[in-house]
Symmetry: C2
Amino acid sequence: MANDKKFVQSITSRSEDFAQWYTDVVKEAKLCDYSSVKGCLNYLPNGYAIWENIQQDLDKRFKETGVENVYLPVLIPESLLKKEQNHIEGFAPEVAWVTHGGGEELEERFCVRPTSETLFCDHWQKVVKSYRDLPLVWNQWNSVFRWEKTTRPFLRSREFLWQEGHTLHATSEEALERTLQMFKVYIDFVTEDLAIPLVYGKKTESEKFAGAEATYTIEAMMHDGKALQSATSHFFGSEFPDSFDIKYLDKNNKLHSAYETSWGLSTRIIGAIIMVHGDDSGLVLPPRIAPTQAIVIPIAQHKEGVIEKANEVVELLKKNNIRTKIDDSEKSPGFKFAEQEMLGIPVRIEIGPKDIENNECVIVRRDNREKIVVKLDNLGNELPKILETIQKDMYDKAKNFLDEHIYEATTMEEMKKISNEKVGFIKAMWCGDPECEDYIKFETNGFGSRCIQENEKISDKCIYCGKDAKELVIWGKSY
Amino acid sequence: MANDKKFVQSITSRSEDFAQWYTDVVKEAKLCDYSSVKGCLNYLPNGYAIWENIQQDLDKRFKETGVENVYLPVLIPESLLKKEQNHIEGFAPEVAWVTHGGGEELEERFCVRPTSETLFCDHWQKVVKSYRDLPLVWNQWNSVFRWEKTTRPFLRSREFLWQEGHTLHATSEEALERTLQMFKVYIDFVTEDLAIPLVYGKKTESEKFAGAEATYTIEAMMHDGKALQSATSHFFGSEFPDSFDIKYLDKNNKLHSAYETSWGLSTRIIGAIIMVHGDDSGLVLPPRIAPTQAIVIPIAQHKEGVIEKANEVVELLKKNNIRTKIDDSEKSPGFKFAEQEMLGIPVRIEIGPKDIENNECVIVRRDNREKIVVKLDNLGNELPKILETIQKDMYDKAKNFLDEHIYEATTMEEMKKISNEKVGFIKAMWCGDPECEDYIKFETNGFGSRCIQENEKISDKCIYCGKDAKELVIWGKSY
């Protein structure tokens, strides 16, 4: 059993050092590691398989709303990137430049795409002629590159994987509707499939995306009380397409501006899954996106008939569309249990000679370690229900944590006290002045505005300046 | 009907100008176009959807053999690329170099990956310690970049999409077995799912991959008789991993070399689908990978009940897992038929008032234009069978074409005559000398060696030098 202990003890506890715990989980569960390319990650099989399931589920939701997938180039000419002023100011400092190709110095530099709005607009400028060509509702799954100085696995790296949706519409109303529709798709996906509860709303002016008119964000609370921006949906209005000279002929044959949106979710979300659900034994994966949903562990596997029965169980579960593996290696059961816990596999199924005699097996839930004895004849029916229960319980647990860690403040004294003594988010009223926003963040050691809560209020005055409040804002420290 | 004619007439016929026909199909079916990034493509919805289906089918086949997916960085440090001499010589002239990042000139240049062997080896050098860590059977779906001078849609572009599999093994035998296993996966996938018949075998020394010990290739014959290399599987032996100092401790605790493979298939294959199956009306897609398998076209759709019935048919087919769309736009039926043909949708389903009266519909096959009247009650059962028949007939038709265009030659006179008068491949014996290989290509105006046919022979002498022949080689012009 020495080995088992070593495996479990190798990670720091969350309460001792949350950042180190996170790094340990990423490493021990073999999700990703740093490559020799500074600041870039190798997405390893266990981590990439989570991303594949995210892609599959989210892509299905996209397509149900009429999204079509495309792929545009990895490089962007400098002149193209420069076409929209706010956009270039946002991205130019953090891009990587290609200056040589095919053995020659290039006349014009190319950057490795930090995001692809400019490429989509450039294409649309050529193909959009008439209202009949609209709307265009496109998305691509790709990687983008930003020259970050400090990096952390999944949370911030120079290259990361994401999807970026880009749409073009005949009217401002339709574009805004699409912005909100995709915002809703993200909310549904993250709460239903990832079991992560959210706060969400519009970003303030100073926090919105470079070049956008409005940005809608979904924010999750990590176990240390910090916020992780988990996806964003941007409404561009017509300014961005106008700067690319995208115009269409409307039904009256008059030239008209077009309206744009973009929206994205990245591999950061894997960081959120880890930090919302994980515990001191490692990863805890929501069943819907777990690459392996059940692992069968034979007990006393040298005894006659055990391995055979265990394999029967695997086949039975696979037939019931449960992603199942078996661990019939020579490792001790204790080691296998610890490994299942580290990898966050939602249930393990223990089956030994006595279980077989009783025609049953023992299901152990990863999320709360509950043991459930199930007759083998019922397993194919019972396990899907148990997995759905785990999915629901994981959401409820995280939702309770979120609710318990949202505070309200109506004075700066209160807000400073909460920010000093508690972890979590703080609700407070704000006048809309970016200066107040900055001061609030400064005086609370980093509680920035996360999102605006429309139609909600807890007082009439800005918590900082005391002038008339325009909005209720959720404030928090962030990743 | 003027519009319909314009649509159909807008493409050149295959016999008139095959290259122009190809370009026309790509453009009119809106598969891809050139972006503002010179030599790079925009993969548009119709083209990308084909790639998504290819990915899905092929990835399933990979995973059935135990492949795990990963993602490694888009950039490679120059020092890493240089570690294997043959490899750098193969790729250095055609890479793009990143020299600046985050506003500063870099100490070391990075290239945009032309292929990722070096990144996989670099990672493996760090993590592989013992025989217990092997084998590693990994794959990634990504894009690669090569500074090509002349480009053609799907066939050759600076950036293209592909999958690259990389595996590491304890023994040379196991690595060779994996090379051949993936070679077989490609053969099965391309013949079964894409309905493309193949010739296949080992590449000659001069045609193999930079750094590999052996390359296995699958080659398809386009309608103009030229070969398109459709996928390759490489056996690296231990030289490549040795140059990265990848060693493992075997069961006797002795340090041992490891053995590597890599294998890839790219978006070039979409070019093959077009040029094998397409005709003068446009694209013809094999049902298994067609994004839309059936399009329902209501006839006299203004009449009562027609659109409703057409929509019922769509729902019925979707329930039977057939990818179905409806075209109930205001365009004329003739225009819709021409469009279905251009897009290569395997069947269209015509349904008008008279059909509804008889409780039937008319299925028109894209591949041979056969009309099949089917009772609506049987449609859910019949259409899957019809689609399978189309898949099989498309393969058989292409296989006949291939067989009819493979010639044999035992003298250079014969070979030159065939190369002048016919299109297709030529089988001829070869001594193994690369000089003879070069001369044969030169004297036949470009019939290079495509692949070696082991265990087959048509004479004892090299067709060029007359010395003892080592191998039968299939020769052909290539894309």
